[in-house]
Structures are given as structure tokens and as C-alpha cells.
Symmetry: C2
Subunit: 199 residues, 2 copies
DNA sequence: GTCTATAACCTGATAGAC
DNA sequence: GTCTATCAGGTTATAGAC
């Protein structure tokens, strides 16, 4: 039951965000009523925190293992990252919107969650690995934050603007998924332009 | 008084978004009470629409006049666009968040507003101008939507993630504005990589 | 564990006095 | 025009019966 609640809550929270999600709706979708919800997670906040942790775990660590594979060319690694996120985001297209909306509401939510989940260690490990490649001249020396802006900016933009995309940027006979495949090589090309060293 | 309300409402709406803004707060900031607010704009919706129109006018048309200046190299035009948006966004750092949040809430809001403001004509004019440059081989032939994703993805990312940036991505002695100046050449380089034809 | 009932509060909106 | 008073509806959360 607790799992069923978490899963349902996750769906609704991702769809509507914290502020516009009501306990009533979650309860209704689960098939119980409000007081029963409060029995499992005493407050809306505590329930959200539980959900948020699961969501972060589904997003953040994905990138680490791929980034540190130094035997692979950067273009190949980027392609793997894009593929991995495409799979995740096609199942949850509102995830990027959810993440930035909730970070905007309260940064500490993310910071505390990441800390609790012991992610900073793996985070630093991945960053160090990239930094070392830059120092060795195998990648261009670009501040990490700009690598972040580039990758997530390009990756999330179609999803952040998906309603607009559907209304204005897609041809009649075209679907979102096809467009993403067309977009993929541009992401890779841009990341290579940013990071790849001429041989 | 009506202007004072609009300006105050704009500040609060941009800060918190439609859903989390209450009429009480706007009234309190203006220095009157709720019923007085409802006297000027009968409903919260109508008030928001008025504010939203002003905001769209401050964002969307800026890009048109710059894009159609075909005598200027694309890198120069991009730099002008970045400078223009930097000025606007440094005054209103939450504007990108506001726009995508409200579009996500209801796309038709943007579509209707843009239509009412007679912007589609100028929009099409700018697009046609760019498309013609592509057909003439003066720019690479890139689908317009990908130009949009690139430009706005790179431009808005620092602002969308500004809280995270302040907490994790800035050095101690560094401020946001300095970082943006450092970021600017990367935006230009990426847009050139996307659009510029080798000579 | 799950329910009914209820408390306490905040929201947008309106009626009517001044 | 701006106020007080009020309405109807929504919210989270809890107490207590079963």
C-alpha cells in the first residue's frame, strides 16, 4: 500500500508540481481517502520528500557511470547519455519541468535530498574524472558549469517547451519522438564542438 | 492606480507564478485590500492576462528586428540578441522560469496573447528572412525549431538553474553577472557552429 | 488500517455601506 | 473608488469510532 501511494503520488506530483497537487487527488487516485493518506505519510511535505528522493535517484546517477568511461570518445559518451535520458524522459516528459519548478520553489530540497542519498561522492568522482581528461588535453578545458548548461539546456529544451513544440514547431505529420531523433545529432555535434580536441 | 496594480502584480506573478500568487498578496503590496483589487480587474484571470500581455511584449519582439539584419554576420546578430536578453533577464531573472511555467500550465494563454498582440506577422517575417538566408546558402540549413532550442536552451539555462548555480556552480568570489559574461562567447560559438557556413 | 466528522485556515469573488 | 462583511469552496491536518 505504501508503495502504491508513492507511485501514484509520484505521477501526480510530476504532472502538476507540489503546489498544485492536492492530497485529495492523490487519495482519490489511490482509492482511499485523505485521512488514510495522512496515516502513512503524516504531512504532504514528508510525502513529497519521499517521492522527490526516488525521482532524483532516477535522474542524477545515470550520468555518472557514462561520464567516467574514458576509453570511449566523448561523442560516444554523449550519445549514450542522450539515449539514456531520452528513454527516461519519453516515459516522463514533464520531468524536466518538475525538477526546475521544484528547485525554483526551494533549492534546499535538492541539496538535502542529494546529500541524504550520498550522491555527492559519486558526483565529485565524475567531475574529477572529466577534469583530469581536460588537464591531460584529451578534452577542451571548459568550466564544468558550462558543460552542464550545454548538455542539460539542449537536452531538456524540447521537453520544457513540449506544449509549444506540439502546437507550433511540429509539422502535421510529425510526432514528438521522431523530432527528438532528428534533434539528437545536433546535441552531440554541439557537445563535441564544446569539448572535442582537434586531432 | 491601475498602473500601480499592474506593475505590482507583474512583480509578484513573475516571482511566484500564477498558481502560487494570491490576490491578498498583491493587494497588500499595493496597499489596498482584496475587494478593491477586484474592482479594477474583476477576476484574477483577467488581471493575469493583462500582465501576461505586457510581459510577452517585453520578450518576444526583441528578437525579430535583430534577426532580419542580413547585412550583419550571424555571430554579430547572436551577440546582439544575447546582450539584449541579458539586459532584460538580469533585471528579471525569474522571467524564463515564469514563461515556461505558465506555458506548461496552459499553452493557449501564450497562443491567444501572441495572436491578440498581432505578433504572428512579425514572427513569420523573421522566420522567412532566416529561411531565405538558408536557401541562399548563407546560413546552414537547420530546421527553425532547432535554432530555437539551441538559442533559448543556452540562453535560459543559467537563469532557470540560477538557485542551483548560486549554490553549487559559482566560486566563492564570483558573482552571477560575471559568470554570464564568461558564458556569452560559448553561446555565440555554439550558434555559429550551428548556423555558420564555412567560407 | 481505514473510515466519518470536524477543525482551522486560506482562497477568489461579490453585495452593499460610505 | 475604497471599504467591511460575507459567501462558497478549496486546502491540510487531526480526533475518534470501527
Amino acid at each position: 500500500m505504501e508503495n502504491k501511494i508513492i507511485n501514484t503520488a509520484m505521477t501526480v506530483f510530476i504532472e502538476k508540481g507540489y503546489a498544485e497537487t492536492s492530497m485529495s487527488e492523490i487519495a482519490a487516485r489511490v482509492g482511499i481517502n485523505r485521512p488514510a493518506l495522512h496515516y502513512y505519510f503524516r504531512t504532504k511535505d514528508k510525502m513529497f520528500e519521499a517521492v522527490f528522493g526516488d525521482i532524483i535517484l532516477s535522474i542524477v546517477p545515470k550520468i555518472f557511470d557514462i561520464l567516467i568511461q574514458r576509453d570511449k570518445k566523448i561523442g560516444v559518451r554523449i550519445e549514450e547519455i542522450v539515449d539514456t535520458y531520452y528513454t527516461l524522459l519519453l516515459e516522463n516528459p514533464k520531468l524536466p519541468m518538475f525538477i526546475i519548478r521544484e528547485i525554483n520553489r526551494d533549492v534546499n530540497l535538492l541539496i538535502n535530498t542529494v546529500t541524504k542519498l550520498n550522491l555527492p561522492n559519486r558526483f565529485i568522482e565524475a567531475l574529477d574524472s572529466i577534469q583530469e581528461e581536460m588537464n591531460e588535453g584529451k578534452l577542451k578545458n571548459v568550466p564544468i558549469r558550462f558543460v552542464f548548461y550545454n548538455l542539460y539546456g539542449l537536452l531538456s529544451m524540447p521537453f520544457l517547451s513540449q506544449d509549444l513544440t506540439h502546437r507550433l514547431l511540429l509539422q502535421d505529420n510529425e510526432n514528438f519522438e521522431e523530432m527528438l531523433e532528428e534533434w539528437k545529432p545536433y546535441i552531440i555535434s554541439q557537445m563535441e564542438n564544446l569539448l572535442k580536441v582537434e586531432e
